[in-house]
Symmetry: C2
Subunit: 194 residues, 2 copies
DNA sequence: CTTGAAACTGTACGTTCGTTCAGTTATATA
DNA sequence: TATATAACTGAACGAACGTACAGTTTCAAG
């Protein structure tokens, strides 16, 4: 039987290297990083890392680290089921919030929320919304819209009469555009920072 | 007077390269990317890009792109003031949500919220919270805590009697740990994806 | 038009890159 | 203990790398 190679440890070392250098190590650097005396020795582990999606090969043969290594947030397997104990450490992939939240980077921008018209949807003043331009809004999507010249954030809706916009706040009421309606984008995510 | 070089265009080209290759281009690749016939010609622009923080030099002389290029969300200058028109395009740096939200990557993990005990704070079931371990909670911080053996998310508080935990839901009431209290972490951000 | 400064070209050099190959070492199973 | 298998070493190769330098082109100010 072949010897066992500890991938988890190497992933941690790659993570440390990336945090310092901002790039993937070369084969020679990996040899040093992993404690080999020959850079040829890393070909095995690299093959495994490629297979499991921790790195990819760029067009010129150079290696590139993926989100599973470069992401900044640990993804704990037990998160969903219960709360992980603070003692629980080690391994686990990392995730990148951008890739998680942003589908079309070139069409996405941020807005800081002002006003409380969507507060019953859990969107508070000061929150940040990720808005994606160019899509076609469906019923109950939250949209950024310019109604009769004024920008607002509302639930999108449509019926026989036409398009309407609903607030998520009992103090405001449904809006029906009289002259013009422009959709600035669809709200894809809300972020609140404490 | 020297000729003017268009940095904005080059940043866009770098962004496109990074999106495809997942790494920074070499000097030769930059020459091709920017339309120069000599890779020496890129030294000027690179100097500017370094100066303005769009790239950095790694230890071995290789270039590394920064968040301003690799980030996935456009940062529009006019966001705060009004809503940007969908037509508005071009330039502007990009931002990376991870760097924006996560201060200590090695101590941060994600939790999916279950239950409605924090709903009045705009934290709904299914939302994702970023939890940072190891800090000392202050009054009104939202914490993940294990009280008498059970994990909950609550507002943290302290008075003469000791530590207490407040829900953000009128249907629940203040909790005072009777036997044990363990702080699993402090909630640093809330993310909701639609 | 003249001129000077910067942008740009083309070439060269030593280093590091990814890759290959022959040979050695280590270890789990028989 | 013997042995097969994979891990690992060390050396070699052409290609690509970052850097340096001398020379040419470009363009705006005088």
């Amino acid at each position: 039987m072949p010897r066992k190679i500890n991938l988890t440890e190497k992933i941690g070392q790659l993570r440390a290297f990336y945090e310092q250098e901002g790039r993937a190590p070369s084969y020679a650097e990996m040899a040093e990083l992993f404690g080999y005396r020959s850079k040829n020795a890393v070909y095995g582990p690299v093959q495994k890392l490629l297979e499991y999606g921790y790195m990819e090969k760029s067009r010129n043969g150079r290696l590139v680290l993926t989100t599973k290594v470069t992401g900044s947030i640990k993804l704990l397997g037990t998160v969903q089921a219960g709360f992980p104990s603070p003692a629980e450490e080690e391994l686990a992939d990392t995730i990148n919030l951008d890739e998680f939240l942003v589908a079309r980077p070139e069409a996405t921008y941020l807005l800081t929320v002002s006003g409380d018209s969507m507060i019953d949807a859990g969107i508070h003043p000061g929150d940040i919304v990720l808005v994606e331009k160019g899509g076609v809004p469906k019923k109950n999507d939250i949209v950024i819209a310019q109604v009769d010249g004024e920008w607002t954030m509302k639930y999108f809706g449509k019926d026989r009469t036409g398009v309407y916009l609903d607030p998520a706040n009992a103090n405001y009421s449904r809006i029906r555009p009289e002259r013009s309606l422009a959709i600035g984008g669809i709200v894809k995510a809300v972020v609140r920072k404490y």
